[in-house]
């Protein structure tokens, strides 16, 4: 049954265009991020060219190429990834499809978790492709990047994406309203960076994963904990819910 459910989710991502969308978003930023870093001095110079104001930017470093990719990918790409997780529970928002699944399975998590897992894989794969493009463009046009930096940024981003998806998944499981869940998750993820402003939280809050190439262990751990709690809570909530009467 787990494989059947996973297959249904793969078909959804493939046929609804979500996988292609994810790939396009991450690949676009993978190609454009390093280029943006490379031409940043010229872009800023042209934008601020006047007698009163002149901006001089330093020449791009290899880290800048990766950082610009990640900044862009972690905005639109992040929202896209969260939407993938949220819509994986979309069947439960409509009475007809909810009946179809809820009358056929005894453990609802056997239905929901494989779908989330497939979503995680799809986002991880597409992010990795975009990241690989960013690394290749950076190496090609700006300069070499150390392997430890590459692995650090990549692993941090993947862990953060999975955590963000899990948060969206929990909100969706609780609300069973797609648009509301996407809106709430987006607001929450936009607010999360505020945590880094508090010194006591900044060293271990998950948002630190997006901070750069050097990341401590604590943000990883806190992200894993948040992910685990979200998935467990979502499974518990889903199992307690009955058919939505207003669906």
């Amino acid at each position: 049954m787990l494989l059947v459910t996973a297959r249904v989710e793969m078909l959804r991502l493939q046929r609804s265009g979500l996988f292609a969308g994810l790939l396009a978003v991450f690949a676009f930023f993978g190609l454009s991020g390093p280029g943006l870093a490379l031409y940043m001095p010229e872009i800023l110079g042209a934008a601020a060219a006047s007698d009163q104001l002149t901006i001089q930017a330093a020449a791009a470093r290899p880290e800048d190429g990766i950082a610009l990719f990640n900044q862009s990918a972690m905005q639109l790409g992040l929202i896209f990834a969260v939407a993938v997780a949220i819509t994986s529970l979309g069947w439960d928002t409509r009475a007809g499809s909810s009946i179809f699944y809820r009358t056929r399975v005894t453990q609802l998590s056997a239905l929901t978790l494989p779908r989330l897992l497939v979503g995680w894989c799809a986002v991880s794969i597409t992010y990795t492709i975009g990241f690989a493009l960013a690394v290749a463009m950076t190496v090609l046009f700006i300069g070499g990047v150390s392997m430890s930096a590459i692995i650090g940024v990549w692993a941090s981003a993947i862990v953060y994406l999975i955590m963000a998806m899990s948060i969206g998944y929990l909100i969706m499981a609780a609300s069973r309203r797609t648009a509301a869940a996407i809106a709430a998750a987006t607001v929450l993820l936009l607010v999360l960076p505020i945590l880094s402003q508090f010194e006591a939280l900044s060293s271990w809050a998950p948002i630190a994963l997006l901070g750069g190439t050097v990341v401590g262990v604590m943000p990883f751990l806190s992200s894993v904990v948040v992910t685990t709690l979200c998935v467990a809570a979502a499974s518990l909530i889903a199992s307690k819910q009955t058919l939505r009467r207003d669906a």
Partner: protein
Amino acid sequence: MNDHTPLVRVVDATKTFANGAGIRSIDFTARDRSVTAVIGPNGAGKTVLFSLIAGLLPADSGRVELARRDARVAYCPDVPQFESWLTAREVVETSRAISGHSNRAAGRQQSTRGASTKGAISAVLDLCGLGKVMDRRVVDFSRGMLQRLGIAAALVTDPDVLILDEPNSALDPIGRADVRGIIAEQKRHRCIVLSSHLLSEVEQLADHIVVLDQGRVVTQGTTEAILTDGIQPVWNIRLGGPSQITADDLAVAIPGAEFEFISSTLCTARFLSFAAAAHQLTTAIHLLRAPIIEVTLHDRDLDASFARIVQNQES
């Protein structure tokens, strides 16, 4: 288990919602290898009752009992919905796979007897008239096709109890006849509980009828009992041409009976009792002196019975 043994028992079940809708103190039994129809006006509580039987909603009080612990319940809602990117075949495959279907179907379900999984899926889609479109995505399906697919997805799980909520509400006449045939065939293998506003369909299919109104069971019984409950000894006599006698002359000739010509070729005859009618109806037919096309008991159909029952309830 013997044929026609009770398979589903709803015992004093109550489920209400904040807006007052729901069902109250419902009792009824649905038997194996028979069709139990639940009829009632919109908002009577039919769908809530089905949701309780299917385990989708918990009862506030009372209970739903299945005679067999492992009895499988399949519920096809009035508006079946599926993930739109799947094909009809994939929907049925998914239904079969996630319901933990075992090979017990092979011996029970004629459509899948001795067939492989793929064969069984094709067979059930063919049975429901979707064989030619099984590889089309659900997003392109009409509502009638979705209803057929809902039935196919339910049947492929080989349920012991098949709940069909208005299974033919979106179907054309040919589709309705097809679904009627499917239900009549499937009734030989399982317990079917259905609802429909098309009472002529219910009349043809159901062995037992439960009438709901405002969340309560108004009456229940065999289809025949419901059809004849409260019925009056009134007949419609359709003639092949105008009669040679007036209604008043008929009344004089047959004391105690009343006659009315609705039109020149349709006469209504009302008798004091069914016993009186047994003798007097043939006399009336003789006196009409016109070709007789049809003699039918007035209001002997489920629509009229239902209207009578609900009106009696309200008064």
